[in-house]
Amino acid sequence: MAMKPQMKSRIEVTFIYIFFAIMFVVIGYPLFWAIMMSVNPGTNMLVTDLFPDNPTLEHYKWLFTSPSSDYLIWYKNSLFVAILNSVGSVVITSLVAYAFSRYKFYGRKYGLYMFLLLQMFPALMGMVALYILLNTIGLTDSLWGLLLIYLGGQIPFNAWLVKGYFDTIPKELDESAKIDGAGHLKIFWTIMLPLAKPILAVVALFNFMAPFMDFLLPRIVLTSPENFTLALGLFNFINDQFSTNFTRFAAGAILIAVPIALVFLLLQRFLISGLTSGATKG
């Protein structure tokens, strides 16, 4: 092998770039295809083109203006659940995480085990009971019922995450505050919460996005179209007639995916650092 190391290195780098190029195509193609579908005229998928001769925004217009479109209602419903879920889960999980991170109490250790275990059980496993429970308190087909399930279901994972982050905040800080006469809640409010902003932002963001992305729980809880969230509405859109509504679905889906993806790309660094510091250092 009489190849110079420099030459070898250059070939290697070229191959790496080629590999990235392939990955870019594999990642980009489905997304690009969906965007192009959404600007195809008509709703018949059989005559769509990747590059339509006369691209149109008619499907986007239809979503917002057609009387038979519930898109705006779904958007409003999703926002409603998303905002309350985001705020509620930050409040509940930070309280729980604070107790688990800073206090010693009966069942603390088993509580931690329980969180780890429960976060692996999907809500679907208890769906029948949840439905009956919601039914007995009259919250089926209601956004409040859906919200309640989201709020409860997110606790194990997020409490674990936030607790891990709290643990990285030096204990000396709250101990010195305690010596200065600060009470439990004051320490929580003035020391822990401000320092834990990054992870709380992650929790808020995650729980804000969840209602936009989940279709399963809404599908079981919500029955009337005026209560649908976006994901469920769009799913039903193409569930009935897949091939004839896909162009409209694509338009509706892109309008959800773009804002979510943008926020996500902006904040993903917090997310990763939160996950690694929270979940691995425990």
Binding site: V13, V26, M120, F215, S243, A261, T276
Partner: protein, 433 residues
């Protein structure tokens, strides 16, 4: 308060025993004996109101839990079962207060024996707040967790031991406890046995292959991007994370359309160039291949992002030391990078396996678990959880669905067990407290 220190008298006469016994008999009485009047009265009031409000509910609940009702139409077995479970939870809550009352009486009595005066009211309240603070903090979360997560799981577990299905459903019929019959049927009856075997093996293959592929690809890409010679790292990272940023249900439905044999672009635009038509949705084998490819697409960015973060934290001097010793690239990867990265991320990687094991969304959204398979209630690509969904919401085989759920739960606990052992948190537990 003048309090003479008495000589220790044995047996029941000792205040600590007497106080404990009094509180066992009537909550609050021991506190009264300790001259903690307000606390004693408070505990008595709590006890009485607890009993008045919940006695009836608990009574019926526990009775219902054992019998599941005795008169058809009048007794609704499912509601009784649910009430029974809630009654159990309320009962445990009540017993906790009861136990607290006993321990509290004993503690105060011991303090009095040691000649410590009772604290003034303000101080006592402050102490209570101090000691109780963590409990107040977790209470809202705990209540929600119990009713929204734990109770439904308990309910599902209970259903697995009943005969609740489409043909035997309340209020027309009463349910019965049938012991392990459902599990026996699952492994004995041909219709269940074969389906279970097929679904189970595919679930395992799916979990292992799809997750390993996404971890492998993510790791490989992270290594490549981390290479010093590569430029435009930020752009490359952003693009590689894109599949994670797009909501999964959107991408899965897009893929479902892409793979559609009649109008999907994969057959129509790409494979047709090679004179190929692959039945992606109607042939179980190809549907499985498609699912694994899609999941790899969906799942690798998370692993990639995770590893990218961790790779930057590998100390550079370790590589320099390896270079000095003449270590090859492969040796550096195997002895420095891999151990470091795996140690830091093992719990999250195990979560990935557990996540795919329960990955209902992709299976259901891609093809609703199809194609249908003759002679079995699960489709060709159904994994356990999507099969459970079908059994529950489509054919109302609640008992079998619950039995399968329990088996899934046991497997999930296996994942969790590994995670406990891998999670550094519990190793450090001793240090922190």
């Amino acid at each position: 308060m003048a309090h003479k220190k008495k000589k220790e008298s044995p047996g029941l006469k000792r205040p600590r025993h007497l106080a404990t016994l009094l509180s066992v008999l009537v909550p609050g009485l021991g506190q009264l004996y300790n001259r903690r009047i307000l606390k004693g009265i408070l505990l008595m009031v709590i006890t009485v109101s607890f009993l008045i409000t919940t006695w009836n509910y608990i009574d019926i609940g526990i009775w219902g839990l054992f019998t599941l009702g005795t008169v058809p139409f009048e007794h609704h077995s499912i509601q009784l079962l649910l009430q029974g479970l809630i009654a159990l939870i309320v009962l445990i809550f009540g017993l906790t207060i009861y136990a607290y009352n006993i321990m509290d009486a004993r503690r105060d009595a011991i303090a009095r024996e040691d000649g410590m005066p009772n604290p003034p009211l303000l101080k006592a309240t402050a102490d209570f707040y101090d000691r109780g603070f963590p409990y107040f903090m977790i209470l809202p979360g705990l209540v929600m967790l119990i009713f929204i997560v734990v109770l439904p799981l308990l309910f599902m577990v209970s259903l697995a031991f009943t005969d609740y299905n489409q043909y035997n459903a309340p209020p027309r019929n009463l349910l019965n406890w049938v012991g392990f019959d459902n599990f026996v049927n699952l492994f004995k009856l041909d219709i269940w046995k074969d389906t279970f075997f097929n679904v189970f093996t595919w679930t395992i293959v799916w979990t292992v292959v799809a997750t390993s592929l996404q971890i492998g690809l993510g790791f490989f890409l992270a290594l490549l991007v981390n290479d010093k010679r590569i430029k435009f790292k930020r752009t490359i990272r952003t693009v590689l994370i894109l599949p994670w940023a797009v909501p999964a249900f959107v991408s899965i439905l897009i893929f479902s359309a892409l793979f559609n044999p009649t109008f999907g672009a994969i057959n129509r635009d790409i494979l047709s160039q090679f004179e190929l038509m692959i039945p992606w949705l109607s042939d179980p084998f190809w549907a499985k291949i498609a699912l694994i490819m899609i999941q790899t697409w969906l799942g690798f960015p998370f692993v990639f992002a995770l590893f990218t973060g961790v790779l930057q934290s590998v100390p550079a001097d370790m590589y320099e030391a390896a270079d000095v010793d003449g270590g090859t690239r492969w040796q550096k990867l195997k002895h420095i990078t891999l151990p470091h990265v795996l140690f830091a991320t093992a719990p999250l990687l195990i979560m990935q396996y557990a996540g795919n094991f329960n990955n209902f969304n992709i299976i259901y959204l891609f093809n609703e678990g199809g194609p249908a398979v003759r002679g079995q209630s699960a489709g060709g690509t159904d994994i356990l959880i999507s099969w459970v969904y079908k059994l529950t919401f489509e054919t109302n085989n609640y008992n079998m669905a619950a039995a399968i759920t329990i088996i899934m739960g046991i497997l999930v606990m296996g994942f969790a067990f590994f995670q406990f052992r891998k999670t550094a948190a519990f190793k450090e537990e001793g240090e922190r407290y």
